[in-house]
Amino acid sequence: MMVNESADQLYNFALLDEDAKREIRRSLLKAVALPGHLIPFASRDLPIARGWGTGGLQITLSIITPDDTLKVIDQGDDESVNAVNLRRLIHRTTGVATTTDTPAASLIQTRHRIPEEPLRADQILVLQVPMADPLRWVEPSLERAITMHGETDYGKMWVYLYESVVRAGDLRIASQYPVIVNHRYMMDTTPIPRWDVPKLHMAETLYLFGAGREKRIYAVPPHTPVEPLQFEDYPFRTEYRPGQRCARCGAENTFLTSHFVADANGGRWEMTCSDVAFCAKRQGEQRDR
């Protein structure tokens, strides 16, 4: 049993009891062995509500060790309410060091984003997932969806993509872009934007996905092919626009979000890096120069 002196001794290390952690780790092993396949798990009650990251949190709590350095992001921001509270909960029950610097972290729990800085083989990224099954859009029955996954019966999902081109003139799927993992299972990349989807392909890092409400775990192990669904004449594209630029740090190759900046004239919209820690780091480097 792991103990850390600086953790709150009222709780077991990492809050969950050891049996719960063991059960989640078993599901994680299955998930890594079958890349992209949805593995059911018990999904315990936690002191946060369903939909606030319980899936990701349970994965983090069951794999964290006292030597880890933790980073938690929500919408690309380390300082948003959700990120701050999850980080405080994990820190209080484990006593691990926390950071906002991506290269310094060994374990990163995230929602909506994969950090801009490239991840390494010794890091693990845990994603909080709202909707686990990509077939949810075309097949409401869970039982039939499981059969469809088993038989690689993804025709309906391709029709969904076809309809997207017919209706919008392009593959307009903002997040939850469907991908085929390891040439076998169709997986939802929820909740990351298209921008981050190529980062899953043949990555150095282990990606773990947890959906607490839906009680499912899935994974993309390192060096696994991840191919987005696309047509030959309508290829998959990220949100990149030529000439785009962050208004704060000037980065030209990052995922941007719009912010409203109030000033004397009433205010204006600004496009800035979604990865706030990365943006701040670049701004600091520019000041030092």
Binding site: G150, G155, K156, W158, Y162, D233
Partner: protein, 292 residues
């Protein structure tokens, strides 16, 4: 068709050039008992066993389908003809018996040995099916184009432009207005939806087209136009068809050869004209005399 042996009308044997052969096929639903076979069948006039309640949908069904021919299966409701079609469509697993498939003189394959994944692949590439009710064959939330494209997408077509072109071509072939490619099924009439189903079934150029009561529920003039369309497709593509219907008029118009089913058994088989002009089995006589 000339290989047909006239004096053997029940076991209609064509030794050469067959594409599909059904051997001693059985299917029942229920627990079965020792007396089932004595208490059911056309002579008893029932397919459910009065002792144990088992329904015998197909009992010792044999048939052969020659390449390019249209075979009709007639019979009343509950005679087992739809169950037979579903078994050939590999949607229902038979209890016993074999379904042999042989394409272009290759070695024959027993379709009953395929696992679910292989069966799905076979269905997508070699079979096309048209149901009586369009809701069974079409997804009402997708557009007409999407429904037809589903078969092409399953066959690994990944070029949107080519999929659109093929879908339009199929719509023209089935006499659907190509400009309505992006409309949704609920905005189409019943007869048009049957055309959409036919277009979808033909999309992957299947070897066998299965037609399950496709004109039931349509008015007579629409019915006639659908039959004209099928006759034209059969003439142009030389496609093999299995036509299930309770309507002797439909079978007479399309099928060269016909099988009559009653209570899960084949009671008579032969050339359609022969069966209609000179029915041998009492049930067929009743069927012919009651029509019109």
């Amino acid at each position: 068709m000339l290989h047909f042996v006239l004096n053997d009308r029940v076991n209609n044997v064509i030794d050469e050039d067959w594409i599909l052969r059904v051997d001693h096929l059985y299917k029942h639903f229920g627990p079965t008992c020792a007396d089932c076979h004595q208490l059911t069948g056309p002579t008893q006039g029932r397919s459910h066993c009065p002792r144990c309640g088992t329904v015998w949908a197909c009992v010792d069904v044999n048939l052969q389908l020659a390449k390019g021919e249209v075979l009709g299966i007639v019979g009343e409701s509950g005679s087992g003809k739809s169950t037979l079609l579903q078994m050939i469509h590999l949607a229902v697993q038979p209890d016993r018996g074999h379904i042999w498939y042989r394409a272009n003189g290759e070695t024959a394959h027993d379709l009953t040995t395929l696992n679910r994944y292989e069966a799905r692949l076979f269905r997508n590439t070699h079979l096309g099916i048209v149901y009586q009710r369009p809701e069974l064959g079409l997804n009402m939330r997708f557009s007409i184009g999407g429904n037809v494209a589903e078969k092409l997408l399953l066959a690994e077509w990944r070029h949107f432009g080519r999929i659109r072109a093929r879908t339009t071509e199929l719509m023209v072939k089935t006499e659907l207005p190509p400009e309505r490619i992006d409309d949704e099924p609920p905005t189409f009439s019943g007869g048009m939806l049957q055309r959409v189903q036919i277009a979808k079934a033909l999309a992957s150029r299947p070897a066998i087209l299965l037609l399950d009561e496709i004109t039931s529920g349509l008015d007579v003039s629409v019915q006639a136009r659908i039959l004209d369309l099928l006759r034209r497709i059969q003439w142009e593509d030389r496609i093999t068809m299995l036509l299930v219907s309770h309507d002797l008029g439909v079978v007479r118009q399309l099928a060269r050869r016909t099988i009559v089913m009653k209570n899960g058994h084949i009671v008579e088989a032969g050339l359609t004209d022969q069966i209609l002009e000179d029915p041998q089995h009492p049930y067929t006589q009743l069927l012919v005399s009651s029509a019109l």
